[in-house]
């Protein structure tokens, strides 16, 4: 999603702030190299009384926007990212605490309130700069202009695997280092000693020769008055004491005793409950509503309708959100009983004739028409390669729509009273939600307060504010606080889905089996832009896409476009290795000779998996490699196929995130991403019938269970490269590695997901379509 933000900033830049462009930002930072801007996170202007009142109690001093110290010497790290299990809040605190030389036992985290002051400028900065290879001179500084831009954009997003590599490196570390330097300055002045003689350790200031030692807290108020350093000195990796080490996550104790507060656990005085049903055919409206039976249900208070809406954002463009009917009751149970008792006739605005077959047929037609085909990459001469080819290999793949199916069904609690709205929610974009709800209510954003909570899963779903708007509108209509809870059925049927995609490949091969050209056309491009690109040394490449819109709403789903393109490209590479008649791992390695980081993860995964170890009959091994969100991941999957049933035995992953801030946290994220991707590859399928989603709950939208879960080994490579993400990169490689393993075991090439639709009892000989 990172490039989407970059585009967003550019566009907004043109309209809102005139001459500010992507280039101007980068230039501004470089130009300022001699006299750099004061870091936003640590500049005095950021310590406004308004901000202080939001995060600091009376006895606390706000040293800067990212950390506060209280009189017990406890450092509270204020994190502008939501927690959905990815552990980012703890890892971000590690980054700040290490640079601050804080005592880890005296560190706690607090999620930043959804106010403009906490707009995620660091994330925007990462987006503007494309994140990769940011000039070192910029790393310890923050461009002051960014705050203003980011405030205007309403960025407080958790997504794109960005928390650590943007907020962490450009916010937390800088803030921690600045705080430390300010405390040293304050102590130096009081003790009348040179600042460079003062050392810091475990939240204490130490002046060895005069045998002085004082807790940070003693100087917090003085430091709070000081001008922060423009360019605080960051540690070298070798100096880390907390970064790069495993710590226990802050949120875990509350998640084992039931005390963790998810949005659905909120109890607002006077609160009633609601549940909704939206038009099953996306975008539809209510033609006729008979709510007499619903209102007769004991405990039902009211039945209201929520108007249809158009959603528009940079990621997914314009999408139609259908009209909905909500039943409000004294509890969820009567609300659900009431909903089930409603008789609704829907009026569709189109789309009711569509089903999965017609949608894939449309994709097929549009791929063939190549109307207004756009290129992701065009290099070399593919036509010349085809002329010279000994063989041409063609293949086509497809993936279905996928729901996010977060464990916590969609919910939000709203109170609308006296021109003010309060919203209790778990979401990935609190500031954006605030603005969306304000717009829906006709309020100024200042009159909407968002209390963000732990999310019971997010995976991209909870960046769409539709449910927040519903809750606010219902609360406004019934004039009392409302907790809106979607049924699982509504959650599955009213998602913003990972798109269904069809992708075609053609490669020219010479007499030795070497690849002369790589052609790929797929439908519908979203983000990240680089997802369909391959790292392999193929001279002629023509990678592009055509538009083929449907009425199915779509959105970011863990690793976004990488989920489908990882499957497509890494399956086709495997087919080319098979066409050449060589080992799938060796084939890739040969094409990665000028990509040392890629080669290293590939080699590591193969080595740890014991790639050369022979497998018994019925077993198979597959490999795949996908870089996403700045992190390189190679995975080897081992399967056993017995009587057509595929059992995934083991998955070995090699991961290069540049540097792992929290090694166990990274491993947990990779394990999680793998299971999420494996679930989808094996079972995941949202199919469309008569314009609506056919599945409804976990019995027909299956999720991987413990019985099916393989052993996972994760090996981390610390290359020192640019910082990469953790939440998403584990997902893309697993589907192709699985499909390649099934091919290895059975000879059947899995070109369509999910795997459950294949009958593997018999070996299927598919033509390579040799021309």
């Amino acid at each position: 999603m990172l490039p989407a933000l970059a585009i967003l900033i550019q566009r907004k830049g043109r309209s809102k702030v005139g001459k500010w462009t992507r280039r101007a930002f980068v230039t501004a930072g470089v130009v300022a190299g001699g006299g750099l801007f004061v870091g936003v996170a640590v500049r005095t202007g950021h310590r406004t009384p308004e901000l202080a009142s939001l995060v600091a109690d009376d006895d606390e001093i706000l040293v800067n926007a990212w950390v506060k110290l209280d009189q017990d010497n406890v450092a509270t790290v204020i994190v502008p990212h939501s927690e959905m299990g990815q552990g980012a809040q703890t890892a971000l605190a590690q980054m700040l605490a290490d640079e601050m030389d804080a005592d880890w036992d005296l560190v706690q985290v607090q999620e930043a309130p959804a106010t403009s002051e906490y707009a995620n400028y660091a994330l925007a900065r990462g987006a503007v700069l494309g994140n990769a290879d940011i000039p070192k001179i910029l790393v310890p500084t923050i461009d002051g202009l960014m705050l203003q831009v980011t405030k205007a954009l309403g960025l407080q997003i958790t997504g794109g695997s960005l928390s650590i590599r943007t907020t962490g490196h450009y916010g937390m570390r800088v803030a921690g280092a600045a705080a430390r330097e300010m405390l040293i300055e304050a102590a130096a002045a009081k003790w009348q000693v040179p600042a460079q003689e003062i050392e810091t350790q475990a939240s204490h200031l130490i002046h060895a020769s005069s045998q002085r030692r004082a807790p940070y807290a003693e100087f917090a108020s003085v430091a709070g008055q000081m001008m922060p350093p423009a360019s605080p000195q960051l540690k070298d990796n070798s100096q880390f004491k907390i970064i790069g080490h495993d710590v226990q996550r802050f949120d875990i104790p509350s998640k084992v005793d039931g005390s963790a507060q998810f949005a659905m656990d909120v109890q607002v005085p006077g609160m009633v409950y609601a549940t909704v049903r939206r038009s099953p055919v996306f975008g539809g409206e209510i033609a006729q509503l008979d709510d007499r039976a619903a209102k007769a249900v004991n405990g039902v208070i009211d039945v209201v309708t929520i108007p249809a809406a158009k959603k528009e954002d940079m990621f997914s463009g314009k999408q139609n959100i259908g009209e909905a009917v909500a039943v409000v009751a004294q509890g969820y149970w009567p609300a659900k009983q009431g909903l089930d008792a409603l008789t609704v006739q829907w009026k569709n605005i189109g789309g009711e004739e569509a089903d999965s077959d017609s949608i894939f047929a449309q994709f097929d037609r549009d791929l063939s028409a190549r109307f207004e085909r756009e290129n992701d990459r065009l290099q070399g001469d593919v036509n010349l390669a085809l002329e010279r080819a000994e063989r041409v290999v063609e293949a086509e793949y497809r993936v279905p729509y996928l729901a996010h199916a977060c464990m916590e069904p969609i919910n939000a609690t709203a109170k609308v009273e006296n021109g003010q709205c309060e919203l209790w929610i778990g979401c990935q974009n609190p500031l954006g939600f605030r603005d969306s709800v304000a717009e829906a209510l006709g309020f100024d954003p200042e009159n909407v307060t968002v209390y963000n909570h732990f999310m019971g899963g997010g995976f991209g779903r909870k960046s769409n504010p539709d449910y927040a708007i519903q809750a606010a509108l219902i609360a406004a209509m019934v004039e009392r606080p409302v907790q809106l809870i979607w049924s699982r059925e509504e959650d599955i049927r009213q998602d913003f889905y990972r798109p269904a995609v069809r992708s075609r490949f053609r490669a020219a091969i010479d007499a030795q089996g070497d690849v002369l050209s790589w052609e790929n056309t797929y439908v519908d491009k979203h983000e990240p832009a680089e997802a369909p690109l391959i790292p392999y040394a193929v001279g002629a490449q023509d990678i592009g896409y055509v538009a083929s819109p449907t009425h199915i709403p779509f959105g970011a789903w863990r690793s976004v476009d990488h989920t489908q393109h990882g499957f497509f490209t890494e399956s086709f590479v495997d087919e080319l290795a098979a066409a050449k008649g060589v080992d799938a791992y060796a084939f890739r390695a040969q094409l990665l000779q000028d990509k040392p980081r890629h080669l290293a993860v590939l080699n590591k995964a193969a080595k740890e998996a014991g790639w050369d170890r022979p497998l018994a009959q019925g077993r198979g091994r597959g490999i795949a490699l996908q870089e996403s969100f700045g992190t390189l991941v190679a995975e080897v999957v081992e399967v056993t196929v017995t009587a057509g049933e595929v059992k995934v035995d083991r998955i070995v992953a090699a991961v290069d995130p540049g540097f792992a801030v929290s090694p166990d946290g990274l491993k947990a994220q990779i394990e999680s991403g793998i299971i999420y991707g494996l679930s989808a590859a094996m079972f995941g399928e949202i199919s469309i019938e008569a314009g609506a989603v056919a599945q409804s709950n976990f019995h027909d939208y299956q999720i991987l269970r413990m019985t099916d879960a393989p052993v996972i080994e994760t090996h981390i490579i610390t290359s020192g490269g640019p910082a990469g993400g953790a939440g998403e990169p584990g997902t893309p490689a697993v589907a192709p590695a699985l499909a390649n393993a099934v091919f290895n075991a059975t000879g059947t090439r899995v070109r369509q997901l999910p795997l459950k639709n294949y009958d593997l009892k018999f070996r299927i000989e598919e033509s390579d379509e040799v021309v």
């Binding site: 084992v256 005793d257 699982r488 081992e638 413990m706």
Partner: protein, 161 residues
């Protein structure tokens, strides 16, 4: 009026007897550690103990547990100052990610170990198969259960598969 004991305390409910136990616990008693996940007994997030045995509270009408002993995640620990060994193991293995399913996972695991102190892999799988974890922490859950059961944990990095 429907009466039952929840975490050792007598409770009375004046609600529709068909109301699932889940909603009575969450809305009437404010015991929100028990989670709503699917409403049809497919995900296990709502798992509680009824007389010590794991049960899906989203499918259990409150009338069906009249006079029974219900234990929720809030009552799993032996006392307020001490965690259940599984809860401790969950922290040590850093099991939860989003955490939403974990109350149910813990209740299922506790029910398993109460009846089978040394479960095999297959027995753990069977007992836990009804509990979905969308964050995919099955490996860590299994590790934590085995640590408590003292049946050893298979370290994949060390051995064959």
């Amino acid at each position: 009026m429907i009466r039952l004991r929840v975490n050792g305390e007598e409770q009375a409910f004046d609600i529709d007897p068909q109301t699932p136990l889940l909603w009575a616990l969450r809305e009437q008693l404010r015991l929100t550690g028990t989670k709503f996940g699917c409403g049809i007994g497919q995900c296990g997030a709502c798992t509680v103990h009824v007389n010590g045995v794991a049960m899906r509270s989203c499918m259990t009408p409150i009338a069906a547990v009249q006079g029974q002993q219900v234990t929720t995640i809030e009552g799993l620990a032996p006392n307020p100052d001490e965690l259940h060994p599984l809860q401790q193991a969950w922290i040590e293995a850093q099991v939860p990610q989003c955490g939403y399913c974990q109350s149910g996972q813990l209740m299922s695991a506790a029910s398993l170990l109460a009846s089978n102190a040394k479960p095999s892999d297959a027995e753990i799988n069977a007992a836990m198969a009804g509990n979905l974890c969308r964050c995919g922490m099955y490996g860590r859950i299994k590790k934590a259960i085995k640590n408590v059961a003292g049946v050893g944990y298979f370290d994949p990095a060390q051995g064959e598969v």
